[in-house]
């Protein structure tokens, strides 16, 4: 009921950050923290019974005759993703050192409100608008505050993602047009009316392919997936750490939400060719990214590839879950696969936020980012190193932490369809485990690298935020019931077999 007012308040408050002068960090911290709590209580109250698939729809009509109106509706999935996105951005602001200007914090707050708008929007027009609105501030964040060749990298980031999103816009248009033909004369841009399988039945095969091609390209670029990923390593490495946390933690949610939020209702009509391509791309990106992460020299770049590899699970789970649904396997399989994919999106954001914040503190205290120049810092900075170790273990999917729940449910869900191809995924998981542990051994353990001089450990505030993240990851790993049920109910509610 008050979702619309909440969102407008958030948007205005984030615009105000630009004028908040010296104490911009404190201001944005307060706003994002407050909204984190508000969303947490609002959604836990809203979805307590774990049954509701969609929240109430609130609309501000802009040009209703043509179906363009700003409407918000939360669903089981988007509720959780909103909370995680807010938390990750809160952590990014918390981690950032004080000397950034208010423009920096304003841009981060704009990204947050754009992302939350995207997750909650129930109108494809505003889904596209928020998709772009999130990109522009990130482009400026990387361009203005990045190190080394930040202008070329930020441009590459923006143009790459922009090409993906404009193709998505064309798909929305064709949906809009075919809705016009289907209901001979009425217009609508709302997700519920455009994204239902009935509309796709009458659409000629070519146009169905055209629609799904545009949507898949946009989501795969943002995920990122194998062929469309070349913006990732440079922008993660060039961006300052808080922006990398936002990129890795919050923006990867967009790709995941694209698949599970937008495409899930029409999963029955997606041509099988696309789905097979999705699975193959997922497996390739899993193996390809883990292997190229293995021989990276800088910790940050290695973790960028690790984040990309982890998102391979999302495409695999969506692709094979959809094929299982179309070949009418039992719902217990594809529901688990979809829920596993959603859980991976949720958990990946959290884990990457923790890893990059602990990497930030390691770099801040040792001044070094390359694996070669670090060694045995466990002795000098035991607190950060143990948090980094926990992050690495969570990212390689150690049971007891959230990563395992997601990866296992994906594996269990998709085996019915994938069969022995699962060995490739297992091979990639092994590679992931080995380079994570190798990096931990190379940087944290082993003999102390005297060149570093004496390094100081992290302060109380840093271990506070890292402890909160660690507890969240362990809680989601040991007691995933509440969130996981939400996802399975959402999946079974939305997917029309």
């Amino acid at each position: 009921m008050l979702m619309m007012e909440l969102y407008i308040a958030l948007f205005l408050l984030s615009v105000v950050t630009f004028l908040s002068g010296k104490n911009a960090k404190v201001y944005s911290l307060a706003v994002s923290g407050a909204f984190l709590l508000i969303f947490l209580f609002y959604f836990s109250y809203r979805y307590w019974g774990l049954s509701a698939v969609h929240g109430t729809l609130q609309t501000i009509p802009i040009s209703p005759a043509y179906g363009f109106n700003f409407s918000l509706q939360s669903s089981g999935l988007s509720a959780v993703l909103v909370v995680i996105a807010t938390f990750v951005i809160f952590a990014a602001i918390f981690v950032s050192s004080g000397n950034y200007s208010q423009v920096f914090y304003g841009l981060i707050m704009l990204t947050m409100s754009g992302l939350i708008g995207l997750l909650l929007s129930a109108n494809l027009l505003f889904f596209y608008i928020f998709w772009e609105v999130v990109l522009v501030p990130v482009y400026f964040l990387i361009g203005l505050y990045g190190n080394r060749r930040s202008d070329t990298v930020s441009l590459k980031f923006f143009v790459y993602t922009h090409i993906g999103s404009v193709l998505m816009l064309l798909s929305f248009f064709s949906l809009y047009t075919y809705y016009f033909y289907e209901t001979n004369g009425s217009f609508s841009m709302s997700i519920s009316s455009l994204m239902n399988p009935a509309l796709f039945e009458t659409m000629p095969v070519f146009w169905r392919g055209f629609v799904f091609f545009g949507l898949f390209v946009a989501f795969l670029v943002k995920l990122p997936s194998f062929p469309l990923h070349s913006w990732l390593p440079d922008s993660y490495e060039t961006a300052p750490y808080p922006v990398t946390i936002v990129l890795a933690g919050a923006l990867s949610i967009m790709g995941g939400y694209g698949f599970f939020g937008i495409l899930l209702p029409v999963v029955k009509v997606i041509p099988q060719g696309f789905l097979l391509a999705l699975i193959v791309l997922g497996i390739i990106s899993l193996i390809y990214f883990s292997l190229s992460a293995m021989s990276q020299l800088s910790m940050k770049r290695m973790m960028a590839y690790a984040s990309a590899a982890a998102m391979g699970f999302v495409t695999i789970s969506f692709g094979s879950g959809a094929i299982e649904l179309q070949n009418s396997f039992s719902p217990s399989l594809y529901n688990l696969a979809f829920a596993g994919g959603m859980y991976q999106v949720l958990v990946h954001g959290l884990i990457m936020a923790m890893i990059f914040s602990s990497l930030y503190y390691v770099t801040k205290s040792t001044g070094k980012e390359m694996i070669g120049s670090l060694g045995g810092i466990f002795r000098g900075a035991p607190v950060i190193s143990s948090f980094l170790l926990v992050g690495l273990l969570a990212s390689l999917g150690l049971p007891g932490m959230a990563g395992f729940v997601a990866e296992f449910s994906v594996l269990a869900g998709i085996y019915g369809e994938i069969g022995m191809w699962i060995l490739l995924i297992i091979f990639a998981m092994l590679i992931t485990a080995s380079y994570h542990i190798w990096m931990a051994q190379r940087t944290l353990f082993g003999p102390y690298n005297e060149v570093l001089g004496n390094i100081h450990d992290a302060g109380a505030s840093s271990s506070a935020i890292l402890t909160v993240m660690m507890l969240a990851i362990i809680f989601l790993g040991v007691f995933p019931h509440s969130v996981f049920e939400l996802f399975t109910n959402y999946a079974s509610g939305v997917v029309i077999p």
């Binding site: 202008d151 923006f158 193709l167 146009w207």
Partner: protein, 478 residues
Amino acid sequence: MTAVVTGIDALQYFIPEFILGITGFAILAAGMFGSSRKVNASITFVSLAASFVYTLTMFNHPVYVLSSTFLLDNFGLYFMLLFLAAGMLITFPAIINISAKSEIFFSLLLFTTVGMIIAASSSNLIVLFVSFEAVSTGTYVMTAFHKTERTLEASTKYFFTGAVSTSIIVLGISYFYEATGTFYLSPSPAIISSGAMLVSLILLVIGFGFKLAIFPMHQWAIDTYDGSENSVSAFLSTGSKLVAFMIMLRVFVSGFYGDANDFYIIFTLLAIVTMTYGNFSALSETNLKRLLAYSSVAQAGYLILVFSAAGYAIGISDTNLMEYAVAAGMIYSLVYIFMKGGAFLAMNLSSTKKVDVSDLSGLNKKSPAAALSLSILLLSLAGIPFTGGFLGKFFLFLALIEVKLWWLAVIAILNSAVSVFYYLRVILVMYRGEPSENIKVSSLGVIPLVVCAAAVIILGVYFALFSTVLGFVGGLFR
């Protein structure tokens, strides 16, 4: 149902022209008594505003005047508002550029606007041609205003290509008359000889294409926009380009209604070539004015997409899809005025004549308002949501997809994605690095920028505009 008005009370429909004409002569007279630039500018602005307000009252009752050579319908009035707005936009910034004999410049500006308004209020080829010539002649002289090397070279190039295209237009019109036997542009002329029709179509496309700066006929535009004064190139790239666009809308969509398939093919080819040429050559351009010139060529490419969509729609005889396309074109031109006009006026921020991209570096420190509004304008040119440019491109590509020209839409949208590259490159330069020494920030330079940025933002959110503009399109088929 369009009333035919004859006799003395027809004059009331020409009040906007009278207001402008009289003030034009008044300024010339005042000039003799040595009135200052500011006074002339404010007189011009007041008269433009007055006729703007009067035109607003003339909406919603279309009428034939002067034995139906003039037709005052919503479509024409909408474009009249656009031209008056373009004129108003450049009056005050012109004070920065025009130093000596400003009364001649402002009177010229007024007379050219009169020509534009007449072009907007008629659907007879003769009147269209004559007013088109009035606009061109006025702009030839405005380009050569300060008689410096740069402006002279610009105006020579502009004049010669302009004169050649005028003769091509006349030949085209004569063949049109031979084919249809009338000068009136109505959707159902009895085609006497289709051969002549095709020849006239080709000639008219070249003739009018020159002023819109489409690919083969665009070269003068690059040099002229680069050479002439900032406000003149602003006026050229917005006012005179949109006159040509409006006349082409009248001529092709209602005049050549019969063989729509031909002009669909021609305009699609021209559009693809123009967009690609404009976008790619702007990628590595360092001279900011030339970059904006190339971008205006690319924008012209987007504009003529309207003709492909409308032509294809007429081909499959679906009139309301054709109306969507024309409405999309009209919205695009409205937004285009503020985007492109504002961008060219931003060149006043740098004191050098040949404005380089690095001249604007560090603008954020000198004047954050200018930097922010120029970034908004550039974002709008790139078509980023929450800006007017996005609104224009949104409806344009929507029209293309509704007509099922998916491949053309893909080419166009990829072009606009590539264009993002050079717009954002400029924005980054403004916000990084140390302020360059030849930035000069004056209130006259910044205020129009802020006004344009505000207009672009308002348009960006105002989606309901489409339905009102769609109502105006009906006029095209009176």
